[in-house]
Symmetry: C2
Subunit: 343 residues, 2 copies
């Protein structure tokens, strides 16, 4: 067969504020690949099916010499993030054509891998859509599941506040918390998202653009757990509304990602007065501890409808820039996924 285009989505420029589609990142079709004859050298060829767009990717769009927890994207190279692909050809004994693999993949249509390092073969006995393995059954679901287990110390009857409660992480946290008998307060940025939070059982869903966080928490709090996806003033409001011995789970601070002047939190004296515990974490650190339990329980719960989950899919690797912008600015509604190929 003749070579086919191998589209890629490249990191093109370090953004100052929000990443701009076509400028910060660009779609490129200059490369081709011969699917039948590309040399595998004992490895295997993967066709990428779905790629995940997540808030934390913003932190990787930085100068190469700025240190952070996750390595920066390389200018001129494809972006990278969690995805699922199907194996087309294999010379490896560990994986065969037709297997599906999950892990951090470069943003291109076809890739050759020398071995399974960093990848996991997904059996998918529950027959979930493959995209779920970058969502509720993937990194966002793991984020919710792992950190709740590690830090929440939840007791029935307590109150939790979740910022971005309609998001792929927040919505799973909300359902875990409801399941454990907590009162769940959760915010999001549109009435459509508020409606979704109602549907998944959130007790006090609200639109932070029409109600202020401080007012809602003053009325519905105090809160025993704060699941933070936002940081900044929302974090400050949550500290103000915290009960003594409240646990803060610091998952994300999206309000700080796209600004040069970070919000300054003024009320940290409460950390002592209220004996707060504030816990930063990265999902990758907790994978060894809770990964097996997650894969044994969560995909089956999703299949049985016990965890509801919303996706915001875009078709085509050229749509990555738009999807990134929407996730950073809160315009997506559900887990943002790029469908690179249907099968």
């Amino acid at each position: 067969m003749a070579p086919v285009k191998n589209g890629r989505h490249l990191f093109n420029e370090i953004p100052e504020g929000y990443p701009i589609p076509g400028k910060t990142t660009v779609y490129d079709e200059s490369q081709t690949i011969d699917l039948d004859n590309a040399p595998l050298n004992g490895g295997f060829l993967v066709k990428v099916l779905v790629l995940s767009i997540d808030p934390y990717m913003r932190g990787k769009m930085r100068a190469a010499n700025t240190k952070s927890y996750s390595p920066p994207f390389e200018l001129g190279k494809p972006l990278e993030n969690f995805g699922v692909g199907v194996v087309l050809r294999s010379e490896s004994g560990d994986v065969k054509a037709g297997d599906h693999v999950y892990g951090v993949l470069p943003f291109e249509q076809y890739i050759v891998r020398p071995n399974l390092s960093g990848l996991k073969i997904i059996k998918n006995e529950e027959k979930l859509p493959w995209s779920y393995y970058v969502g509720a059954a993937g990194m966002p679901g793991q984020t919710a599941f792992f950190a709740w287990k590690e830090f929440a110390k939840a007791k029935k009857g307590e109150t939790v506040y979740i910022s971005t409660g309609a998001g792929p992480v927040g919505s799973i946290v909300a359902q875990i918390a409801k399941n454990e008998g907590l009162k769940v307060i959760a915010s999001a940025g549109s009435d459509e998202k508020v409606q979704f939070m109602k549907e998944i059982g959130v007790d006090v869903p609200f639109n932070y653009k029409t109600s202020t966080v401080a007012d809602v928490l003053a009325k519905e709090g105090p809160i025993d757990i704060y699941w933070d996806n936002v940081g900044g003033q929302t974090l400050q409001d949550a500290i103000e509304a915290a009960n003594t011995h409240a646990r803060f789970i610091e998952c994300g601070m999206i309000s700080d990602y796209n600004t040069t002047e970070k919000y300054a939190v003024k009320n940290l004296l409460n950390v002592i007065a209220k004996r707060l515990s504030i816990n930063g974490f990265l999902v990758f650190d907790l994978l060894p501890k809770y990964g097996d339990e997650f894969y044994q329980t969560v995909p089956a719960m999703i299949a049985r409808g016990e965890i509801k989950f919303l996706e915001d899919k875009k078709q085509g690797l050229d749509k990555v820039g738009e999807a990134i912008y929407e996730v950073q600015s809160g315009k997506n509604h559900g887990k943002s996924v790029i469908v690179v190929a249907d099968n």
Copy 2:
């Protein structure tokens, strides 16, 4: 015997900034007591020997309707804090003349108590000075001992930074940390205090008025544990210099106690990036868990010279105002104690 004066030190006025001796608090000698005939009604009469002056007392100098972890002082009533007294007369079966009691006492020379509630009889088999029971063998020592056990998760070879490392809490933390094989960085506000930190084994003692915290931590860090007695910009500098998975023990934020405009911390995004855990605590919460172990081990360690400890004593209940001001402004050198009576 004729009635004698029963001097008291009263809370007189809510301060705006620093408490002012003779204004915020006043010494009063208008009351008398007949030591031989004052009715005990089944209780006992205590002569107060020593009273402790601690940073947290500032938080109690507030309007009665402002909630906080510790109840406010009452205007026109004696201040209260930890102290040791000797029983002069008793009608109670639980305590006899000559016993020494420890607990929160009102700032007056003589008090009648109906029972032992809130007090502990101190045997003092180690023959320590009674004042030590409000210092290294009292609340400050407990603060260091309990919270280190609860939160430090220290490993040999790690680095800890202690702000106010010459203070009654910080200096004990420094000695515990050295004992466990850590590199200890500690700051204080005078060269005299730096000298004391050297004497107790601090590896990198420095004067924060002549060296900046950020510079010293950049050179000597990163830090794995931060023992915070200061808050504000020092906390921000410690976050900047923190290693991944660093533990922050939030003991005090004295830089925020005497200001109306609290310092705003700008770099909390690092809580996630570095996976920090930030833990507020109050010593009283941890007393049930570690109290027995403390009294079984620490007074003996002090007696054997394994824990060194510095006191800043003032003679007389009329000196309370000066002592409070010095503690709030960092002018004391060692644990501030009011000696009310020598025996």
